[in-house]
């Protein structure tokens, strides 16, 4: 019976649901996971790479992590081509703000602006929603470090720790258990890697299956966005004891 109400984005079902939006979220549930954790001195983003082949030419571009502006980065989960469109939109919105105000766009305003765009695709135009969820990590002078999660409906929320993509519910409950408000950036990296290793399907963890990015302040006070190299990622996996196969006990 719901079949009659799911082919167009712009109508509600009798139960008051937007099926296209829900189907978009289904698509994301099959995509590579991403986890974000807010700490006192930075925000950590970790992503599971689905496309791993020896033949892949990694020319410096990343699969999961995108820099939106000097002070904001994001991790994506879902349809990669949709993600590219939206990250570009976010970049333009950030630059447009800086062009008008000569200041970096506050992180929440950027997230809100992008979410307004996403919402448009659930209400008019007859186009399907974007099949992407985002974890935005950034810093601004008003609220310091922030982490936001947004989904295809255009809803967003500020989080201390969040997970999107495959097994995100399991990851989210693990984060709820182990997150502490005063966690340091290093602790956040460890927690993110541990939680991701437990929720990933693969039998063993290696640096070519992961991406790690951090947003933090340099000693001079400028915001830095750093994607870990495969070598430093491997070292971290060894350090936190996470490179072995995922075990059953928690």
């Amino acid at each position: 019976m719901s079949r009659r109400y799911d082919s167009r984005t712009t109508i509600f079902s009798p139960e008051g649901r937007l099926f296209q939006v829900e189907y978009a979220m289904e698509a994301i549930g099959n995509a590579g996971a991403a986890i974000g954790i807010l700490s006192k001195d930075g925000v950590v983003l970790v992503g599971e790479k689905k496309v791993t082949s020896k033949l892949l030419q990694t020319s410096g571009s990343t699969e999961k992590m995108y820099k939106i502006d000097d002070h904001v980065a994001c991790a994506v989960a879902g349809i990669m081509s949709d993600a590219n469109i939206l990250t570009n939109t976010a970049r333009v919105q950030a630059q447009r703000y800086t062009f008008a105000y000569q200041e970096p766009m506050p992180v929440e305003q950027l997230v809100q602006s992008l979410c307004d765009t996403k919402q448009g695709y659930t209400q008019f135009g007859g186009l399907r929603p974007f099949g992407v969820s985002f974890l935005f990590a950034g810093w601004d002078k008003n609220l310091g470090f922030q982490l936001y999660m947004s989904d295809p409906s255009g809803n967003y929320g500020g989080w201390k720790a969040a997970a999107i993509g495959a097994n995100n519910q399991a990851a989210q409950s693990m984060l709820k258990q182990d997150y502490k408000d005063d966690i340091t950036r290093e602790g956040a990296v460890e927690l993110a890697l541990k939680v991701l290793s437990k929720t990933m399907d693969s039998t063993s963890l290696s640096s070519d299956k992961l991406e790690l990015a951090e947003v933090f302040l340099s000693p001079s006070g400028t915001v830095k966005y750093q994607v870990s190299s495969p070598e430093s990622l491997t070292k971290l996996l060894v350090k936190f004891g996470v490179n072995q196969p995922a075990t059953e006990d928690s």
Partner: protein
């Protein structure tokens, strides 16, 4: 013959503007307030075409208010100044506004600031600035007496010196001025300097 000028002192910025509304040879009124309160801690002193002046400054004021409603935080003085300049620049290439602006503001983190924005969208952050024929006199006077971190008393004294200079040296000098100040406690009217009162005529 509109006169607008201002300067930055220790923890405050002060702007003064003449208050005559003139059409050709007729003075409509001598108590026209040309310094708009942009938000709690910002002032816009504007001179130019009366219609453009009101239209543009109100437009900026409402956009600044909208930003605050939407985002829960006020714009910094620098952001407001750059936004204003951008709007003038965009309009310049279609239907320019004939308005010159001195934007004075106070931010908790960066203190007082004064921005010079002319009608062709020039933007300068300045310690002292002036527009109009009166600028020939007020700038020279300020150049002579201004120093950084002046107190309110010293700054008002300098403003008064400029007003005296304008009154004595500018042909068809405006009779009245309004002075407004902005500091950590906000933007507010400081004083009027009147030689002509727009009030009930004295009895014969």
């Amino acid at each position: 013959m509109e006169c607008v000028f201002g300067l930055v002192g220790e923890g405050f910025a002060v702007v003064a503007a003449d208050t005559s509304a003139v059409h050709s040879i007729l003075v409509h009124k001598s108590n026209e307030d040309k310094i708009m309160v942009l938000d709690s801690h910002k002032l816009i002193a504007a001179s130019g075409e009366p219609g453009d002046r009101v239209q543009f400054t109100e437009y900026i004021q409402k956009n600044v208010a909208l930003y605050q409603f939407r985002n829960g935080i006020p714009l910094t003085t620098a952001a407001a100044a750059n936004f204003t300049r951008g709007e003038l620049a965009t309009a310049l290439r279609k239907n320019p506004y004939s308005v010159n602006i001195l934007l004075a503001g106070y931010d908790k983190e960066t203190g007082p600031a004064l921005y010079y924005i002319d009608y062709i969208a020039t933007l300068h952050k300045v310690d002292k600035g002036a527009f109009g024929y009166g600028s020939y006199f007020s700038l020279s006077t300020m150049d002579r007496h201004y120093h950084s971190r002046m107190s309110v008393e010293e700054a008002i004294d300098l403003v008064d010196k400029c007003i005296v200079e304008i009154r004595s040296r500018l042909v068809v000098a405006p009779p009245n001025f309004v002075i407004k100040i902005v500091d950590k406690d906000g933007a507010r009217e400081y004083a009027w300097r009147e030689t002509v009162k727009d009030s009930i005529a004295s009895s014969a």
